[in-house]
Amino acid sequence: MTMAKQPILEIRNLHVSVNHTPILRGIDLVIHHGEVHAIMGPNGSGKSTLCYVLAGREGYTITEGQVLYDGKNLLAMSPEERAQAGLFLAFQYPVEIPGVGNMYFLRTALNAIRKHRGLEPIDAMDFLQLVREKAKLVGIDERLLKRSVNEGFSGGEKKRNEVLQMAILEPTLAILDETDSGLDIDALRIVADGVNALRNDQHAVLAITHYQRLLEYLVPDYVHVLIGGQIVCSGGPELAAELERRGYAELGSQVTAVVQ
């Protein structure tokens, strides 16, 4: 199919600084519809930075390079435009919004995205049904839906709530920033199921993780290793297993030698 050949995301030689400190130093990454990519890498290597830049957070300076989303200049779009165009970031540290009901938040988000697609706001009853169904799917206690967004949620509950949002918003490109960290085994499978449910030739996933375990449930098409703000090697699922065995240190030193 020719559709499948069109990349959803094209990152070309992306350099990003924070407060004049270079964090990302020349990232190249192409993701096509239907693909699942995983990025692994040590703490502080720039994984979350990449996620935030893709989602449009302020405070990052693009010093070089470009990013195309569905052929359009992603970096020129506001965060909400990116979301409306089908990009979704599951946060490594989901944010608490006191006083704002979780259900209300979800509905506002869904309606904003529907509006962009030229759809009417979802009917209240239909929405309720949709949320119930998805909540069951991701194993979220319905009581959490009645509380304020992420307020007082346990670490795992926050992650599940991110997956719930993803399931409801049905993004074209889902970016998961360590959504598996802090999850129990069952939840891990649920996250993977959630992602796999999205998996068809219309959708793509970029999953950041430290653990191979997630990748056993969520078999990626490609695995990339990010060290020091650069993708130092890429491969198939077997690369994750190798990393688990040998660690970044060894791989890192090998690669540093190559780079320098």
Partner: protein
């Protein structure tokens, strides 16, 4: 610098919606204040001798007083001789029904979203509409009368129920209480009167809508609400004014009296003209509001949403005299541009087992300055009195300010008084989180602010919650539910 800060400030800088002026012929007394003016106002209202005397005593006392200066606000000195103390739309006689009310006035209230024709009104709300110095209409009077509830303009109450007015007027806020209360007592022109007899649960929300229209006039209204033993009433107050370059003075007095087992719930959405972006014009709002829980187990609850006025000086208070009586104060105060608010409450615990709750949410944007000032006083006899105070401030931008001045005087060792305070900035993280879900920055700000105010909005009656949300730039679906 984060670009969103500028955008957020733009978002909170909405135009004032109610700034129009109604061209209507008004009768205005000459500017300035002296005993003749006080007598003239009293004569225009055909008041009994005792009330004229009371006004004069108040006026003479006022002459001995100084304007307070302890509040954390700055403003140009008020020239009390430049103010017109009485202004009223010309009416041949007091209208008997709405058909006799000047259509221009009815249109004004319609424009403000307060239709006065009963069939058009929200079914559950009776309205007293006060235009400059006089009440122009009170709705649902007959229906309320069936339940023995008196709801009318203050002037009518003086004519029709003089003994009731005389018994209670000035018992909670004496004319000597403070500078602005003394001024009000001398020149008050109208306001609302409400009396709910023993054992009656008022069948609908009562509300007064204050409108300042004439230029260079002050508005001095007076509200008196009495709930007898076991009675219940929920009362709402709303207000707006035209946009003008000069400042106008509003100095109201509200007195609430709750007898044994009675409950009064008083809600305000204050939206006086706040002045323009440069801080020109706007209402000076110097208001004395106080209730007394006279009887056992009585309850008075103040809820206020303060978004308007150039200066707000207002401390709705409760004197907890009856044993086990309850006082509550829920407040949202928003200051933007050059608005300044110094607002809070006083809870005076006299009776045994009295309880009070204070919840204050202050939002500052632009150059707005917001001060919470509260006093919790537990007198010697107030065994096991309890107070819980929470003051939260939210800052939008970095040129605004939030201040907290909590005072506590505890003279009974069995009392428990708790105070918590927080100050936070609207967080970039929260905004980004909302935006990353497709929600516009504008809606995200509204959502977060409204979430911040949620606990207070929940205390408002439904109709007012709608208004409050709109004022905050939020649709009703927002924080409720």
């Amino acid at each position: 610098m984060p670009t969103s800060t500028a955008k957020i400030e733009e978002i909170v800088s909405r135009e004032y919606q109610h700034g129009f002026y109604t061209p209507i012929e008004e009768e205005t007394v000459p500017a300035g204040l002296n005993e003749d003016i006080v007598r003239l106002i009293s004569a225009k209202k055909n008041e009994p001798q005792w009330l004229t005397e009371w006004r004069l005593k108040a006026y003479r006392h006022w002459l001995t007083m100084r304007e307070p200066t302890w509040q954390n606000v700055r403003y140009q000195p008020i020239d009390y001789d430049a103010i017109h103390y009485y202004s009223a739309p010309k009416m041949k006689k007091q209208p008997k029904s709405l058909d006799e009310v000047d259509p221009e006035l009815l249109r004004t209230y319609e424009k403000l979203g307060i239709p006065l024709r009963e069939q058009e009104l929200l079914a559950g709300v009776a309205v007293d509409a006060v235009f400059d110095s006089v009440s122009v209409a009170t709705t649902f009077k007959e229906k309320l009368a069936e339940h023995g509830v008196i709801f009318c303009s203050f002037s009518e109450a003086v004519q029709n129920y003089p003994e009731l007015v005389r018994r209670y007027l000035g018992t909670v806020v004496p004319y000597s209480d403070n500078f602005f209360a003394a001024l009000n007592s001398a020149v008050f022109s109208d306001g609302s009167f409400c009396f709910v007899p023993k054992g009656v649960r008022c069948p609908m929300e009562l509300s007064t809508y204050f409108r300042i229209n004439a230029a260079k006039t002050g508005q001095f209204e007076r509200t008196l609400i009495v709930a007898e033993e076991g009675a219940y009433v929920s009362y709402l107050e709303g207000c707006t004014a035209p946009m003008r370059d000069e400042n106008q003075l509003h100095a109201a007095v509200v007195e609430l009296i709750a007898l044994e087992g009675a409950e009064i719930k008083y809600s305000t959405v204050q939206n006086w003209y706040p002045g323009d972006k440069e801080g020109r014009g706007g209402i000076y709002n110097f208001v004395t509001k106080r209730g007394i829980c006279l009887g056992r187990r009585s309850k008075i609850s103040w809820t206020q949403v303060e978004t308007g006025s150039a200066i707000t000086w207002k401390y709705p208070s409760v004197i907890l005299r009856g044993d086990e009586s309850v006082g509550e104060f829920y407040s949202v105060a928003l200051t933007n541009h050059y608005q300044q608010a110094d607002t809070g409450t006083k809870m005076i615990h006299l009776g045994r087992g009295t309880r009070s709750t204070i919840l204050s949410k202050a939002i500052s944007a632009g150059h707005g300055q917001n001060s919470y000032r509260g006093l919790v006083k537990v007198m010697r006899g107030a065994e096991r009195a309890r107070n819980y105070t929470q003051c939260d401030s939210l800052l939008i931008g970095d040129r605004c300010g939030a201040h907290t001045f909590p005072y506590m005087e505890v003279r009974n060792s069995s009392a428990i008084v708790e105070h918590e305070a927080t100050t936070s900035k609207i967080s970039e993280e929260q905004l980004f989180y909302c935006q990353s879900r497709g929600i516009s920055l504008e809606d995200a700000v509204s959502m977060i602010v409204s979430g911040f105010c949620r606990q207070v909005f929940q205390e408002l009656p439904m109709e007012f919650a709608v208004e409050a949300h709109k004022l905050m730039g939020v649709s009703l679906e927002g924080a409720i539910g």
